[in-house]
């Protein structure tokens, strides 16, 4: 079965990004497909490569990046939500005249249409948020 997943809250602040990660790992292990995870609202903050969590804590961004590398899951960060919150890739930074970018490997910035498309093309949609 194809399952689409939405993450709506920021990492560390809320358990949503952890719950979603555990859920996706379990879904893949059970033989389901998770073609895409969409990051919206504060969920876009998961994608920053600049976070430095304490060494005895999990690294949420690295967990997701590794998952994408292993399973080819498409990690999409909503561009509108990301712009408000200061998450940019190199292209966006250039376009907006910003002097730095901060998106981690495995994540890509795209439009809300990717959320709707995911909902249309999957059999189930599961949302994690606050």
């Amino acid at each position: 079965m194809k399952i689409g997943v939405v993450v709506s809250e920021g990492p560390y602040t809320h358990q949503a990004a952890d719950s979603a990660y555990n859920f996706v790992r379990a879904a893949l292990a059970a033989g389901h497909e998770v073609p895409r995870v969409f990051f919206y609202h504060d969920g876009v903050n998961v994608s920053t490569r600049l976070s430095v969590p304490p060494q005895d804590e999990r690294n949420i961004q690295e967990n997701w990046t590794a998952l994408a590398a292993e399973h080819g899951t498409d990690l999409v960060v909503c561009i509108a939500a990301a712009q408000r919150r200061g998450l940019l890739d190199a292209n966006e930074a250039k376009r907006q005249g910003k002097d730095a970018d901060n998106i981690a490997e495995g994540f890509r910035i795209s439009g809300l249409g990717q959320l709707i498309e995911m909902a249309i093309q999957t059999d189930r949609l599961v949302m994690f948020g606050d």
Binding site: V6, Y40, H41, A80, A81, L112, I116, A119, I120
Partner: protein
């Protein structure tokens, strides 16, 4: 209705301005309208506060997005279900909400109200017939 059309319900349960969920939900609805799906919006619990008339955000320095609801008809989003019990618990009635209308192309473009006040039981039935439920 073609097989590619799914029933989408956007569920709004949070008040406006205190948090961004209401505004960012509306942004999804506007983008989603381009996908020719069967779209409805549900307002229950504190979500009914999103639709009050006379919102004036000048003194808090935040953008007033409530006029956007009136544009939904132009995007062919014409069904805004509002739960009666949620209104009543909050001391509100349909008269406290802004007027939101659409032009019905199947009825000679007659102007009709988009807001439909429904009971909690009807709301539960509406939720149960969807393919996709997006929660905000």
């Amino acid at each position: 209705m073609s097989e590619d059309v799914k029933k989408f319900l956007y569920v709004n349960r949070k008040a406006p301005y205190g948090t961004i969920y209401a505004l960012e939900a509306l942004e999804v609805v506007l983008i989603g309208a381009a996908f020719d799906q069967d779209v409805s919006l549900a307002f229950l619990d504190d979500g009914v506060f999103q639709l009050t008339s006379g919102q004036d955000t000048a003194a808090i320095g935040v953008k007033n997005f409530s006029p956007t609801f009136r544009a939904l008809g132009d995007y062919e989003v014409t069904r805004l279900y509002v739960e009666r019990e949620s209104l009543e618990e909050r001391g509100l009635s349909a008269e406290d909400l802004q007027e939101i209308t659409y032009e019905d192309e199947d009825d000679d473009w007659a102007e009709k109200p988009s807001i439909r006040v429904v009971s909690r039981e009807e709301m539960a039935a509406i939720m149960a017939e969807q393919d996709v439920i997006l929660s905000f």
